[in-house]
Symmetry: C2
Subunit: 345 residues, 2 copies
Amino acid sequence: MKLTILFGGASFEHEISIVSAITLKEKLSGFDLTFIFCDQDHRFYLIEASKMKAVTFSKGEHKKMPQLNITNGSFTQKTMFSSIEHTGPVLNLIHGADGEDGTIASLLDFFSIKYIGPRTDASVFSYDKRYTKWLCEAKKIKSVHYEVISSNEHKNINIPYPIIIKPARLGSSIGVSIVKDESELDYALDVAFEFDNSVIVEPFIEGVKEYNLAGFIAKGEIHFSIVEEPQKNEFLDFEKKYMDFSRSEQVLKADIDSALEAKLKNSFEKVYKNLFEGALIRCDFFVVDGEVLLNEINPIPGSMGNYLFEDFKSSIELLANSLPTNKRAKVNYEYIHSISKAKGK
Amino acid sequence: MKLTILFGGASFEHEISIVSAITLKEKLSGFDLTFIFCDQDHRFYLIEASKMKAVTFSKGEHKKMPQLNITNGSFTQKTMFSSIEHTGPVLNLIHGADGEDGTIASLLDFFSIKYIGPRTDASVFSYDKRYTKWLCEAKKIKSVHYEVISSNEHKNINIPYPIIIKPARLGSSIGVSIVKDESELDYALDVAFEFDNSVIVEPFIEGVKEYNLAGFIAKGEIHFSIVEEPQKNEFLDFEKKYMDFSRSEQVLKADIDSALEAKLKNSFEKVYKNLFEGALIRCDFFVVDGEVLLNEINPIPGSMGNYLFEDFKSSIELLANSLPTNKRAKVNYEYIHSISKAKGK
């Protein structure tokens, strides 16, 4: 199967996107893979598979590789006398800004390039944690109680300590702090406001049970991964998460009863349906007193959550063959014609 | 002032975008205007000001004009031996799909082109009427009671007749019907489902008072237009709306008391703040029993609502000089470097 891995991006998660892409190179071996790197200045480069190593990018060696332009239906490589078109479906593997905020989705849609990944609207609802809360309220999905603080307001927090502070629009634990009492609050807010003007405050639930579940809809049917109980120590900081994005060993199924598994799947389906079609997403849940609470939606999970799937390759192939297509409006100038006629022009 | 009017798009409102652009040519005379047309296949053309007539496009004469590529910071025109870069802020005047759904916003953001218009997230919340309702719920903005029906479900409507049926994602009254009793329902749903898989059902409130208010935030301050009580006959169908988009005569202020005006402005501000910065939007309100209800957000109103502003030119200039800038993540490969070091590579 032909598949283009698009990675990098002007994002705080640029580096973990590189790690994700390297991991997928191995996990999707046998596929006809093309690697396209988006640098922090939004230039696209075609990366030879043998050069898919972290140092290629940290040493700037990608700059010697062919530059590509995005054009109608393809990424195009100019050669001396003609051009090479890189067509075929794209797997959007740009984590964080660009990839998960709707920018890349819109770009690929505009240029009629099919892709695995969240569409623009789904991106907006998963990238900004405030809007994920709105989604939960509208779709009656239970989630953790929260408050929003903006950098330009002085507001008391009504949630008792310990609390967790998160920038509204970043993934991978960047800028996130656990605040045990008021003395730690100002510093935690300063850190979070460095990344976003809005932060989300939630109760920090010590020792909460956490479960991850990935999945996608293809040809009208939902396909779930196994449920994982992730290892954690308080929460993953960026460096640990960085390592985490290179995971490729399949994990063990969480030891939960079928009633809880059904609840998790039900909540996942509510999140996914009529919004995330085209994407393989991972939902991270908390379970508190037997109640399933949505913690986070990862619309482009690290290394696509390959370690959660029994047959990851077939899953990607199934999804790639069931991607949404945009119905574009046809323009026939009927109104201009009729009005010109009425005016006698 | 230098300003590029971007219009057209692969949208059911393609033609009214042309009308809007022609109207703005007149209303912004004195500005250093560039006209860029996006055709239904997403090709960009540079249109000479003297050719800004509806027939240019309906007759396909734009195809003889210079084609442009979107590149970092500009629209670029290839010439025989070099290229001309069309820089400067863009006014996104593409109504409906492309312009109002977040696609053009993302495209301009990706290529670092400043623009007047809604950002990607604001577009998602105004383009899809379902998400506008979610926004209203989250921000405690009153709006009309509603139900959602999807094309793949059989669902009873609990709102008493007469009702109004709208495709979730189209503007300009396309696919909208007033349904007076059950005998008219199936046909109205068929019409609406031709344009979208989801439709919004609302009570049709006969003789409801309607008020329109436009505005924007520039340099931290909100600027309102006058309040208009639009003329209507039931509601504007597409052809009437088409004519409406060429409006250029300033309208009279609605005859309302200051308490109602304050309520309208308060509701507008709740909609706009922290979401629509960079755009000049028009909110359409209903007033029922003294209560202000948001009916619709027009993030790119027809001919930019020029007829609502006492000094339209200065308003556009003020906004163009106060456009949001994206803070892009800087990539320094610190994690890759530290991990490579730890691995001894």
